[in-house]
Symmetry: C2
Subunit: 331 residues, 2 copies
């Protein structure tokens, strides 16, 4: 289920799809949800094993209440940092995100600027990136969208800082444009001001061999390897110092670390191991084949598409996926 | 459960409280929810009867999906008009809202102005009320809050229209101030621009004996009796004509119609009849007493307080209430 701005009451659709999945739950060996805590009550009272990947921040007071209520529902974190505020939840594993291996690749472009990629919002702190670039004497290119909720912030705080050619705002870019944009960057700047559970832009940069200079918040230390794939800093002044060290890093080595740690295939294999473990806990195996060997391609595809209900016809093991919940701001 | 602006993820609390109610469902004879469609899947799979009052508008496309998925879950409408877009839902009764009989009462004040009460937003169309008042040559007093989401609308569209003393904005008022505010009004103007499921301000005016001039939208024709408690008009020009007819209406008669049709006691008795009917459908009566005679005061109180879990100790019949869902804009 994809949600666009025309849906004003997305929870109506979430509740309907949960009911439809519940009615067909017995057709599946396992259910994998991406709908926060919405499925917990309903699916804890039926027999098909299920697991939920939590995608948002969990540091709000109301999250204490919800995870104290559901301490034994199995959940997967997208970083260890994401778990910290709610240690009581039923964590079974951290699985970092991954990208298809060839989605973004290094391009033969001479790097000439710093890059800022993603979204313009107070949490992403593009103003800090502008400060760092100016003080370093290196141009900054900003490829980012501005959500409706951040429009006032953009107009009142950020627009006045955009001064081409030194600070160039190029708007939102597509996946097809990211390889060139990131390959042309001396480094990606990620001076985040919030405990981001997982910054996809960090591994997008790595896929292109581009170093990252990131603030030490949330999951950053789990993703960036300081001195190998980039630099982790505490403050903007340290970021200036780090820019002088960038030439010591190898773009080839950065790409290799992406291939070793952050591909969609690695992510899918880790999910398959979780599926197998949850299915085995519920009942004896039906076959001596290891499901992962058979299912990896189709499940990875289904995951990438966020499909609602996919099934593998090859092995007889069926897994239901359930679309991502609409995120509130900052989640 | 009361929600204030500090809760950024209210659904976390809704899901937690639904789980807690589910765990104790067998302690109750009936569960009454005010959480939209959230409880439908979970509570349709347990044996305690339950009913949901729907408080919001139901005319969005996603409501077609959710009520097609749950056609047999019993729901109560707050007006017949509210049902129109989703005739397939499991409607069992319309129960109009009510107010405690003595909460608002007519005060000995000579009426000198038109009143606008509630919220400033495009749906409530205070600009139309200002137009009507100006053309009638009668001052308008506006007692209304401005939600954060409507702040831009207020500043750009409405503020320039506020010109005291002819158009006076007095901000939000409390229940304690409403009797005087409405008693001093020649009429309440309600030129609404949306299919409002139930306009509480209309019966607040009636409680004070104040006539209403309302646009013919949503539930207005079910609440206002044209020529008796006010006038129902199609356009602002008709509203001007109606202002000339106001002296024909009796404020005493308007107050009497409030007492006959819109008290909390009437509302509570209608809910008790629904509870009894749903309980009887599930199992034989345990007693020859009619539950309504015993429960009315305590349940009416619980309803007014929107308490989460109240139980009547007198009759042994227990009813769980569940707090109101946070409404999205326009619902």
């Amino acid at each position: 289920m994809r949600l666009d701005g025309s849906v004003r009451d997305p929870n109506a659709l979430h509740m309907a799809v949960l009911e439809q999945v519940r009615q067909r739950a017995h057709d599946y060996d396992l259910l994998h949800f991406h709908l926060d805590y919405y499925p917990f009550s309903l699916f804890s009272r039926q027999s098909t094993p299920f697991v939920t990947t939590l995608h948002g921040r969990l540091d709000l007071p109301e999250h204490q209440v919800v995870f104290a209520t559901f301490p034994s529902i199995p959940v997967i974190s997208i970083s260890d940092a994401q778990r910290r505020p709610v240690s009581r939840a039923g964590w079974i594993r951290t699985i970092h995100h991954g990208l298809p291996e060839r989605l973004l690749t290094p391009q033969p472009i001479t790097p000439t600027y710093f890059a800022f990629l993603g979204r313009i919002s107070p949490e992403k702190a593009v103003d800090q990136a502008i400060w760092i670039a100016k003080r370093s004497g290196i141009p900054l290119k900003i490829a980012a969208k501005v959500d409706a909720v951040d429009r006032d912030y953009f107009e009142s705080e950020i627009r006045k800082l955009l001064a081409p050619p030194d600070v160039e705002y190029i708007g939102e870019i597509s996946d097809g444009e990211k390889s060139s944009f990131l390959s042309g960057a001396i480094a990606l700047l990620a001076p985040i001001a919030w405990p981001e559970p997982f910054g996809l832009v960090l591994i997008e940069a790595m896929a292109c061999g581009t170093p990252v200079i990131a603030f030490n918040r949330g999951s950053v230390p789990e993703i960036v390897e300081d001195g190998l794939t980039g630099f982790i800093v505490e403050r903007k002044e340290e970021a200036i110092a780090a820019t002088d060290q960038l030439s010591w890093l190898s773009r080839g080595a950065i790409r290799r670390r992406f291939e070793e740690r952050f591909t969609a295939r690695r992510m899918a294999r880790e999910y398959l191991a979780v599926y197998r473990s949850l299915i085995d806990k519920r009942r004896p195996r039906r076959s001596t084949h290891h499901a992962g060997e058979f299912l990896a391609p189709s499940i990875a595809g289904a995951f990438a598409e966020k499909a609602a209900l996919k099934k593998s016809r090859r092995s007889g093991t069926k897994v239901a996926f359930n679309g991502e919940v609409t995120r509130q701001r900052n989640q």
